[in-house]
């Protein structure tokens, strides 16, 4: 299978998209960017490949009419088992590192044996919980090892400390010292090894079709993936392990990606964690002008994060609250540094939190609108991407202000807009890594109409 890859190294997450020679999306992968961009890029690519193979498997099974109405259940089970496999692998490495760490720091505490024992217990509990978490009904709290392992480890360590074991902060210290190296290590096992193990775990459930399934899986494992070219983009792009010619600015990738998702797009707004981009593109998806927020991150996603922290609620709870507002408060500052203080000040003045939140969302959108105006305004169609595009209150504030100032617009918001940059990069890779149309075959390149989402939204894709 010949394919092209786009990798978008963001400040918080790294995304990869794999497309075929016609620009069809074959797979996606996402991971947290960590402190190590090389690893993040490799992991995202690996995740995308996995997604490709799962899609291929799905297709083969359907062609074969395998499993009948059990097919979907099987796909879900296999996907979860595969994810569990990856998690357990990392857990094993975490244990190894933590134990080594305990003995390296032995002299300091004196209670080495107790800590070592406690860690063995914690990891054992985590392992047990992992099986329930991945294979059972429990909903995963996050897709990233750091998040899941972190909260489990903390919980079990606290329990051990409470019941007379080593002190909590000593146990947590061991974890903190080792999570980064573990996270920055790539699973040494091949896809084949992990897939085989994952299948083995669930095979008893599908005994009747075992051989046929094993054969299809083997075919997918054996299918060579030949990545013709990779193009990298994003904040971390200068450190991508590719030659300079294979690196494209995130502005260009974002513009092209939005064009592929919504071919009639002329203006793109992306509000991410730390930066906001306003991009104008032409009918080919070529960027004609752009603006980015200036030095400070005022009005970016991070600002909402601070507010959520201040209110001690989850980020996703902000929008529903804001939507309840009946009387929006006028907020002038979107300075992240003062966000908390402003919020407290207004609460103290007797204003309602829904109304303040509604004001805050509007303030963020006004910043974005001014960036858009700097770049040349909003032209139809208008596409909104980035983490903040998932926030309903922000979306409705944006539509309101945009429509007030630029008339009725078609506003596009893709559920998978987080992949916009990676998709653009993949398209650049497909076109030869050069200018947008330089190496594109006539008739395909510009339209990019072949770039449709894969039919099977497999769960290994982490949206």
């Amino acid at each position: 299978m010949e394919c092209f890859i786009g990798i978008d190294l963001g400040s918080t997450t790294t995304k990869a998209i794999v497309v075929d020679e016609d620009g069809r999306i074959l797979g996606r992968g996402i991971t947290n960017s960590r402190s190590n961009y090389d690893v993040a890029a490799k992991v995202a690519r690996e995740e995308a490949y996995t997604n490709v193979r799962f899609s291929a498997l799905s297709q083969r099974l359907r062609e074969n009419n395998a499993l009948g109405d059990q097919l979907e259940a099987f796909e879900i089970d296999l996907g979860r088992s595969f994810a569990l496999e990856g998690y357990l692998g990392q857990l094993a490495r975490l244990e190894e590192c933590c134990q080594r760490d305990v003995f390296r720091h032995a002299a300091k505490g004196g209670d080495t044996a107790a800590i070592s024992e406690a860690i063995t217990d914690i990891i054992a509990s985590m392992r047990k919980h992992a099986v329930n978490m991945f294979m059972g009904e429990e909903e995963a709290r996050s897709d990233f090892f750091r998040d899941i392992a972190g909260s489990d480890y903390t919980e079990y360590a606290a329990a051990i400390a409470r019941s007379g074991g080593p002190a909590f902060d000593r146990l947590l210290g061991v974890y903190d010292r080792n999570i980064i190296p573990v996270e920055n290590e790539i699973d040494p096992r091949s896809f084949s090894q992990r897939m085989t193990a994952a299948f083995k775990r669930i095979a008893p459930l599908y005994r009747g079709e075992h051989d046929r399934l094993a054969q299809r899986i083997q075919e997918v494992i054996d299918e060579p993936i030949d990545d013709i070219r990779t193009v990298g983009t994003g904040y971390g792009r200068a450190r991508l392990p590719f030659p300079k010619e294979q690196i494209r600015s995130e502005i260009l990738c974002h513009g092209l990606g939005a064009h592929l998702m919504f071919p009639a797009t002329r203006t793109v707004l992306d509000i991410g964690g730390q930066d906001t981009k306003a991009i104008q593109i032409d009918e080919q998806g070529v960027v004609t002008s752009f603006q980015m927020n200036d030095r400070c991150a005022a009005g970016c996603g991070r600002y909402l994060g601070y507010i959520a922290d201040e209110m001690n609620i989850g980020l996703h709870e902000l929008a529903p609250l804001a939507m309840k507002s009946t009387c929006r408060v006028k907020i002038n500052s979107t300075c992240t540094v003062f966000a908390g203080a402003e919020f407290r000040d207004r609460l103290a003045a007797g204003q309602h939190r829904e109304d303040i939140l509604a004001g805050l969302h509007r303030a963020i959108i006004l910043r974005a609108i001014s960036l858009l105006a700097r770049s040349g305004g909003i032209r139809n169609e208008f596409t909104f991407t980035g983490g903040v595009a998932k926030n309903q209150a922000a979306v409705s504030a944006l539509k309101e202000v945009a429509n007030e100032n630029y008339g009725e617009l078609t506003t596009n918001i893709a559920p998978d807009s987080i992949y916009t940059g990676a998709l653009g990069a993949a398209e650049f890779a497909r076109r030869g890594g050069h200018g947008p149309l330089a190496a594109a075959s006539p008739g395909i390149g510009a339209q990019g109409s072949a770039a449709t989402p894969p039919k099977n939204e497999h769960q290994a894709v982490k949206a």
Binding site: Y235, A238, R248, S249, E250, I251, L252, D282, Q284, V286, V287, T288, S289, F290, Q291, M292, D294, R295, R374, G376, H434, G435, P436, L437, A438
Partner: protein, 423 residues
Amino acid sequence: MSTAAIKDASMEQQKALMAGYFDALATAPERGQKCVYTFVPGNLTELIRSFDLLPVLPEINALQSGMRGKSADYIGLAERGGHSEDVCTYVKCDIGMLKSGNIGPTGKPLPKPDLLLLSYTGCFTFLKWFELLREEYDCPIMMLHIPYQGDGEITPEMRDYVVRQIKDELIPQLERISGVKYDEDRLRQALALSSKAEDDLVWTLESAKHVPSPIDAYFGGVYYIGPIFTAFRGTQDAVDYYRLLRSEVQGRIDQKLGPVTPDGVLEKERYRLVVEGPPNWTSFREFWKMFSCEGAVVVASTYTKVGGLYDRGFRHDPDHPLESLADYCMGCYTNLNFPRRIELLESYINEYQADGFLINSVKSCNSFSAGQLMILRELERRTGRAGGFIESDLVDPRYFSAANIKNRLESYFQMIEAKRLGV
């Protein structure tokens, strides 16, 4: 101005000139030579020198401090002394330098002023700057109010106002300080020399109309304008320098060579740009390299016009000495109104066959920066050429975010490339 990679003979000559100048300043007190502090835009170097006085230009000292990595400390010192983080960093850098012993760029002390000549051209901060310096020095101060070209032209009333101030106030003041009688013939001779040097400067700047351009009219340009803008206009030294520079550039044109950059001669000119706004001085070379490593050449810039729009025809005129000095003061780039700034940039973009234009918006300089976003959009609209916008500062390293600027520049260059291929 130490830039190791530039080793042309003209560069050596400029270095020697500057070293000689700072030596002269360092020894001025013991030699009994008096000094006039004044500003670069619209400076009256020929007039000052005709009284055997030496000009000292605080902006040059500040930018030199920036290039030598001293500005952060100087600015910090001024801010600890009560100056706001918000205000012009040239001022704070100069005040910090003063508080640190007033050591000039060559490591030798700068003389105290015998006159603060507040030639108030194109920048309101100048006024505060010298009010602040006046607190430090016990010396006379003279306000030379230069009217702004608000309606886009120099009216007879404006010219009359400046000429009268020079004639009735400044010249008597310079006579008092120097003990030298005003000698108009001497001034005329200097102005004639200015005009000669200005011809060659214009020729050099306009050489960038060649494709490929033999010069970089921004990063290289700031060196080319050095002697003319500062203390040497009206001297034979300046005439010689520009003659030499011209012959060097002619040589590069003949050999079809690109400009000399920090990485050597530019191999391939990929992007031709017009730049608006002053450069950043604290990371000057790093900034320049972000352009040169992408094959970007600046073919025209407005910063190189803060000391006069010679390329639009102005010359110091020995036949009308005071009138031409007045016109010079009023004709600097930062004294032009907005519509005229936009027109100038538009004509540069067309005349120099630029692929696009870039605005370096510096935090310190409202005179340049306030409204630049409108310039951006107007130029995009009028020329259809790609516009880029980056932000930095003159001498405050806190406002130079290399990663951020590089990111935008790369995006910008790729946008030009995409536009080229996409259409």
